[in-house]
């Protein structure tokens, strides 16, 4: 088992990839066979793909606050007039799709949480065709993301109620960035740099759900987390490094989460939730 990014990068040297290290570690920790572990992960991959397809087809949340935007983005992508390139915009569209399905109480794969489930799934499904990722490479993408996520979760946290949105979308974006780097042949250290840059970029992000619902601003924050993951992955693949070592960046995120007032930790008492419109929406839905 690896307890820090430093250990993760070091241990990965003995394996073909971070994903292979993660599968071997999981087998050791749980006693499950490697094929069984890979097949469990393949099921998660299928749930991710299904949730994206469902979201793009068009859904509406229980409250009506969100839904239909993945479909809009899909049409806009087809028009070919966007600032973002087709891969980045597809990642944004996919991330929105997953979180719209989540908001309507549909089936999703929490990665690392439900509120941030669009980031890793969204980026993976955007790059798998353009870069010809095989099914095994797609499963590896999730193991790489999971390996970095485990270290972040154990050294900081992944609950918005504990550490704000930086712990959810921030962690997800770091996981996706690391996996994107490995998917293009970047090494474990480059993946670690991408993760560190992502966390640093999203440091301090508050969790301020309007009416306490995982809808506003969560759906759009996932889109941002996906775009940010691509940005950090490209920076790391270009050879850029985080000046602050990855483990210190994670420790800083943990400290920021602990210093954050409870109004910004999923209580719906700060940020967008506390705006006049946010309050009005809460009153309309719950009557108080």
């Amino acid at each position: 088992m690896f307890y820090s990014i430093k250990e993760l990068v070091k241990q990965a040297q003995d394996y073909p990839s971070v994903a292979a290290l993660m599968v071997a570690t999981e087998a050791q920790n749980t006693g499950r066979s490697e094929p069984a572990i890979r097949s469990l992960m393949a099921r998660n991959l299928d749930v991710m793909a299904d949730s994206i397809a469902q979201g793009i087809a068009g859904v509406k949340s229980v409250t009506g606050l969100t839904g239909g935007d993945a479909k809009r983005l899909d049409q806009y992508l087809d028009a070919g007039t966007s600032y973002l390139g087709p891969i980045a915009l597809a990642a944004v569209r996919n991330a929105v799709a997953v979180n719209e399905v989540n908001a309507k109480m549909g089936l999703i794969c929490a990665t690392p949480t439900a509120g941030s489930a669009g980031v890793v799934a969204g980026t993976l499904m955007a790059v798998r065709e353009p870069f010809h990722l095989t099914r095994e490479q797609q499963v590896d993408f999730l193991f790489t993301a999971g390996a970095f996520g485990l270290v972040i979760a154990n050294n900081a946290g992944i609950a918005g109620a504990e550490g704000g949105c930086q712990a959810e979308v921030g962690s997800a974006s770091a996981m996706a960035a690391a996996a994107l780097v490995q998917a293009r042949g970047g090494d474990a250290d480059q993946a670690a740099q991408a993760a560190a840059i992502s966390i640093a970029n999203l440091m301090g992000l508050v969790c301020d759900p309007v009416a306490g619902l995982v809808e506003v601003p969560c759906v759009k924050r996932n889109a941002m987390g996906a775009a940010q993951a691509l940005t950090s992955a490209d920076m790391a693949l270009a050879g850029m490094r985080s000046v602050i070592p990855p483990d210190e960046v994670i420790a800083a995120m943990d400290a920021v989460g602990k210093q954050m007032p409870s109004a910004f930790r999923e209580t719906a008492e700060g940020g967008l939730a506390a705006t006049p419109t946010g309050r009005h929406i809460q009153k309309r839905i719950f009557g108080d």
Partner: protein, 222 residues
């Protein structure tokens, strides 16, 4: 010696597959409800659910109430019937109340569940620590820290001499190593609870534990 980790498996991070919208407030809550139901070992006829901090403030928006009750009915976080749990509980004649509390607790996503069936009563406190992962932090007023990552046996039994020896003998005979063990009781000679966190996955032993004299209920989860 391995460090104590909150998250041990890659599937704590990539997963669970679940009904939305919140892993901590919906999936975690369903898991808490399900584990509490397993510890209680029976369908309760009355449940009072005390919600703290983030759970107290946002439980309706996240379906925390729906998920806790779904779990108490035995549903998992990916059960499509989850959204209808309150109605199902009502149809089965289970009286459910929710009490949002303003007290400070150790973790922001905390639910204390008081269950009753006839004269039997139990309280269990569950904590949702993120990504759908949970811990049990209290049973009948006894503080403990139970992660769901390890194979765990829980018995509710009569507080009479020899109970611990019988249970540990059973584990020993079956080659099961006990990592940590907690034994607590309501009062001398009354109900006691024994929790054994083990290294081996042996759900088959729960029936043997249940068959021991003076054991009211035994459960296993991992």
């Amino acid at each position: 010696m391995a460090k104590e980790l909150r998250f041990n498996s890659v599937f704590d991070i990539i997963g669970p597959v679940m009904v939305g919208p919140s892993s901590s407030h919906t999936a975690g809550a369903a898991r808490i409800g399900k584990v509490v139901r397993e510890i209680f070992g029976d369908e309760p006829d009355r449940v009072d659910i005390y919600l703290y901090e983030s759970f107290a403030k946002t439980y309706r928006g996240h379906g925390t109430d729906i998920a806790l009750v779904g779990g108490l009915l035995g549903m998992g976080p990916d059960d499509a019937r989850l959204p209808d749990s309150l109605k199902i509980a009502h149809e089965r004649g289970i009286k459910v109340t929710f009490v949002p509390k303003s007290d400070k607790v150790d973790h922001p996503n905390t639910a204390k569940i008081a269950l009753q069936k006839g004269a039997r009563a139990m309280t269990v406190t569950g904590v949702s620590i993120g990504g759908g992962n949970i811990q049990i932090s209290e049973i009948n007023g006894f503080k403990l820290s139970l992660s769901m990552g390890t194979p765990t046996f829980i018995t509710v039994h009569q507080d009479v001499p020899g109970m611990i020896a019988r249970a540990t003998d059973l584990m020993s005979e079956n080659g099961v190593n006990i990592g940590t063990m907690t034994v607590t009781r309501e009062a001398k000679g009354e109900k006691a609870i024994m929790i054994m966190e083990c290294d081996e996955r042996r759900p088959d032993l729960v029936a043997k534990l249940k068959a021991l004299p003076n054991v009211d209920n035994a459960t296993y989860f991992e």
